[in-house]
């Protein structure tokens, strides 16, 4: 059966709405009482897995899910071997460098040599500072990275910014944008080549529904 990996969190509602519009109803995941991690749609044509954002490409790379929806930020961070099929348009945010507003820095290039940068997106951050040829120490964190500059542990952070409210409220200011991110449709490459479970038909429907919404 066609299996789609869906990310918990910010992208879930839009993703479920998108799939609903092409006839695959996984809205049971949105019910507050739901504890199931895997459900089939009411017509029993497809299954959905509810997984952490960063785990979506893992399930797709291993082929347990033929399709997945995940933010571009995760794809940039994990560089999974998956097919990138469509930009779904929603979940807009950007990967940015931010510093304390009270600091003298107003761009990543002004950061001190061997300064510290805290991030959940270690790979993205390292790649970015390598491209600037600026040697910094990347401090991996699992959340609340804003505390890095606030406590003085790091000069800057690299993190996802949607509205910028969290940064503002914590006295941080965005200085550079690494890239823009949106939700992406990804696929297991071999399944895509073999068109298992008629997945191409569903991909076309998703693409058509996405184009119709733009």
């Amino acid at each position: 059966m066609l299996t789609v990996a869906l990310p918990k969190g910010a992208l879930l509602e839009d993703s479920i709405r998108l799939l609903q519009s092409i006839g695959l109803d996984f809205s049971a995941f949105l019910e507050p009482s739901n504890r199931l991690l895997q459900i089939a749609d009411p017509t029993n044509t497809a299954k959905a897995l509810l997984v952490r954002n960063h785990d979506v490409p893992v399930y797709v790379e291993y082929g347990q899910a033929q399709l997945g929806i995940v933010g571009y930020d995760v794809l940039r961070e994990k560089v999974p071997q998956v097919a990138h099929l469509a930009d779904l348009g929603y979940g807009k945010c950007r990967m940015s460098v931010a510093v304390k507003k009270s600091s003298p820095y107003r761009s990543a290039l002004e950061l001190p040599l061997y300064g510290r940068v805290a991030s959940k997106f270690v790979h993205c951050a390292r790649e970015y500072f390598n491209s600037l040829d600026l040697p910094v120490e990347i401090v991996p964190l699992y959340g609340s990275v804003e505390l890095g500059p606030i406590t003085g542990m790091s000069e800057a952070i690299v993190d996802l910014v949607a509205t910028g409210t969290t940064l503002r409220e914590n006295g941080l200011i965005e200085t550079d944008v690494l890239f823009e991110s949106t939700a992406r449709l990804i696929a297991h490459p071999l399944s895509y080549r073999l068109d298992t479970d008629g997945m191409h038909e569903w991909i076309e429907k998703i693409r058509a529904a996405t184009e119709a919404r733009v």
Binding site: H84, L190, S191, R193, D195
Partner: protein, 414 residues
């Protein structure tokens, strides 16, 4: 202290070996039937030999510290070694060379990889010195024959033509060609949609990305493109090859859930290693779809190893023994236990040792396939019966001095 095996290493115990041999023996039988001869090359190669073809990155090779002028690595595949070994002997040899191998290969797990396994086993063939349609057909039919000899039920052959696809990519401006090729090889449609391309070129790139499916449909689609003489010839060859395959009736007949042959012209690499057909064998397993083997034509490769740069056509494939093992295990075809011995020879006292040794040797000579074990003493007869039952030994010969051995058939019924 406890001595551990290195991370990523694995020991094969007798039952694993029996199962692995079951697979390898069948493949080897088929390779022999097609007139292929085994070649054994060095496990260690110079790094430049391994990397000459462009398909192997330094980072994937497990390197060894040797002398300063020679960088050495454990072979990650066999084709480079065989090409190196063959070219020097090709000048005087009668062509083609039909070679097969059954060997271990080593790969360093790349960054971000979830698998830590470093040593793998491969069986494969190389057909060197003659190109053309029939050589392509021979390799594919040999591959199919090999898979059929293993009783594999469900698998799909994904077939591409690297030369044709590369030639179709030549219509893209140099500035973006590599990016387009990378995106097609990695099935990255989003990059193709956002690259700066004219509408016609974008359409062509997107068409190439999805140029796969039933062979007749794909061939028709390609035929409708504007093709030059080279592309037309490649297409004709491909058409003839597919006809030969389909008429051979050797493709799996129960193709559910996927067709047994998919023509996929997006099946390319980002480096110029393959020059003609390329292919992968894909099979469903409990863990999802798996690649069991792959191969292709490499008509430029041998020239890289030839002292005068003279090249010869070459084509081959390799099968992944671990993957085959994993897929065949649930089918119950592989041996479920190591073979038991036919005989247990038990001397009843030290005085009977000479007679027991002679009797055991006699048994071994009389039937070359008989497995004859010697009881090494220190067991009561009840323990000996237990042992025989446990090891599925058919007969016990009790040897006493000066008497004929007493032969007893072991009752294996519980």
């Amino acid at each position: 202290m406890v001595y551990q095996s290195p991370a990523g290493a694995r020991d094969l115990l007798p039952l694993d070996v029996a199962q692995k041999r079951w697979i390898e023996d069948r493949l080897q039988q088929v390779f022999h039937c097609w007139g292929y001869h085994r070649i054994i090359t060095s496990t260690l190669e110079r790094l430049d030999t391994l990397m000459a073809g462009g398909a192997i990155q330094r980072s994937t090779v497990i390197q060894l510290q040797e002398s300063e002028e020679e960088e050495l690595g454990l072979r990650p595949e066999l084709t480079a070694s065989i090409a190196r070994a063959a070219v020097t002997r090709m000048a005087g040899a009668t062509l083609p060379l039909r070679l097969y191998y059954n060997a271990n290969v080593f790969r360093r797990a790349h960054e971000g990889s979830h698998s830590r396994q470093q040593e793998f086993y491969q069986a494969g063939v190389e057909l060197l010195g003659t190109g053309g349609l029939l050589a392509d057909a021979e390799i594919l039919l040999l591959l199919i024959d090999g898979l059929n000899s293993l009783g594999l039920q469900q698998w799909t052959l994904v077939l591409g033509e690297a030369g044709l696809t590369r030639s179709l990519l030549a219509s893209f401006p140099l500035a973006v060609r590599d990016q387009v090729r990378w995106a097609i090889a990695h099935l990255d449609r989003i990059t193709l949609e956002t690259l700066s391309l004219t509408p016609e070129l974008r359409e062509q790139a997107l068409m190439l990305l999805d140029l796969r499916g039933r062979p007749s449909d794909v061939l028709q689609k390609v035929a409708s493109l504007k093709l030059d003489a080279y592309q037309r010839k490649a297409l004709d060859n491909l058409k003839s090859l597919i006809e030969l395959l389909e008429k051979s009736n050797s493709l799996p007949s129960t193709p559910h859930p996927s067709p047994s042959l998919i023509l996929d012209l997006s099946l390319i690499r980002t480096f110029d290693y393959y020059t003609g057909i390329v292919f992968e064998v894909v099979s469903p397993s409990e863990a999802g779809l798996q690649i069991l083997g792959q191969g292709g034509r490499y008509d430029q490769l041998l020239g890289l190893y030839h002292p005068q740069g003279q090249s010869y056509p070459g084509i081959g494939f390799s099968l992944q023994i671990e993957q085959l093992h994993q897929i065949l295990l649930p089918t119950g075809q592989l041996p479920q236990q190591t073979p038991g011995s036919e005989w247990l020879v038990v001397p009843d006292s030290p005085q009977a040792y000479t007679a027991a040794l002679a009797y055991a040797q006699n048994l071994r000579h009389s039937d070359s396939l008989a497995r004859v074990e010697l009881d090494l003493g220190g067991r009561t007869s009840a323990e000996i019966y237990d042992y025989a039952r446990h090891r599925r030994i058919a007969q016990i010969a009790w040897v006493k001095t000066g008497e004929d051995p007493v032969i007893e058939t072991v009752n294996h019924q519980p």
